[in-house]
Symmetry: C2
Subunit: 165 residues, 2 copies
C-alpha cells in the first residue's frame, strides 16, 4: 500500500479537481478522478455522460479505461484512485473489478455513495477484492464545486424564460 | 413495461447466448447480453475483458454503450436487457444509471450477483431508479456454458505441461 503525506494526497486531489472543472465547463455534474502509480498519473477522467451520451461515463470509469490502456492490462495493481466525490455503486464495482487497492475521495455522497454511505462495496468480505478507503481529502473544495453546480441549475430552472414572453 | 411471451423471451435469450459464444471463442468468461426496444435488438455485448484489457468490459457494459450510441441518448427508457448470468455490482449500477426498466437473466451468480444474490441493487428503494427483474429464462443453457468453461479451465491447469519435459 502506498503511503502518501497529506500534502501529496492534496496534490493529486487537486488534479482530480481540475478534471471536475472540465465537467463543469460542459454543464455536467462536476466530478473528477485521477489514478496514480509510482507517483505518476496514469489515468484521468471526468463525468461526461451528457456530452458523450454514455450512461456509464462517470469520472472513475473514464480514468480506469485510460489507465487500463496505459498499462496494457485490466488489472491496476499498485495504484491509487483519487476521486472528488464518493464513488457510486457502478464505480465501486468497477474499482474492485480493476483490482485497484486504494481509493481516496474528497466528499461523501449521501444519496448515491457506495463506499460507506448507502453501501460499503469496497470493504465487502464476500467479494474477492477489498479496497482501502480514505475520505475527506480537500473535502470542502470537492463538495463546494458540486453545491455551486446544483445551486446554479436550480436558479436557472426557477428563472422565467423571458425569450418566450 | 413490455410483456413478452415465454417464447419471445427465449428468442432474445438465445441472442444473448450467441454473444456468450463470442466470449467463449476468445477464452473469456462466456456471458452475453442484448438490449431490446420495440422488439428490435439495439445493443449487443459479450465479456471481452482480456481481449480489450478493459476491467469494465462486461457483456452488459458493451451492450449499454452500443444501445446508447444507437439511441443517441444515455437514457434507455422502454428497453429490456437480456443477460445470460445475473449482473454483478458494477453492471447492476450501470443498468440503473442507464434507466433500463426491465432485466431478464438466465442463471443466478451466487458469488458475484447483485440482482438478488449478494445484493439486490435493482430493487433498492433508496436509489432513484428501480428495475423489474425476472430470472430463469433458459437457465440451464446459460449455466451450462459457464460450467463447461470453468471445467475446461481447471482441466487445462491440472494437466502436466508436456512441452516442458
Amino acid at each position: 500500500m502506498t503511503e502518501f503525506t497529506q500534502n501529496q494526497k492534496e496534490v493529486f486531489m487537486r488534479e482530480a479537481l481540475k478534471e471536475a472543472q472540465k465537467s463543469l465547463a460542459k454543464e455536467e455534474i462536476p466530478i473528477g478522478c485521477v489514478i496514480v502509480k509510482n507517483g505518476q498519473v496514469i489515468g484521468r477522467g471526468h463525468n461526461a455522460r451528457e456530452e458523450l451520451n454514455q450512461a456509464i461515463m462517470h469520472a472513475e470509469i473514464m480514468a480506469i479505461n485510460q489507465a487500463n490502456q496505459a498499462e496494457g492490462n485490466w488489472r491496476l495493481l499498485d495504484t491509487i484512485l483519487f476521486v472528488t466525490i464518493e464513488p457510486c455503486v457502478m464505480c465501486s464495482g468497477a474499482i474492485g473489478l480493476a483490482r485497484i487497492p486504494q481509493v481516496i475521495y474528497g466528499a461523501p455522497n449521501q444519496k448515491f455513495g457506495a463506499a460507506g454511505s448507502l453501501y460499503d462495496i469496497l470493504s465487502d468480505q464476500r467479494l474477492n477484492h477489498r479496497v482501502q478507503v480514505e475520505a475527506g481529502v480537500l473535502e470542502a473544495d470537492c463538495a463546494r464545486i458540486m453545491q455551486d453546480f446544483f445551486r446554479k441549475r436550480r436558479e436557472k430552472k426557477s428563472q422565467p424564460n423571458l425569450s418566450r414572453t
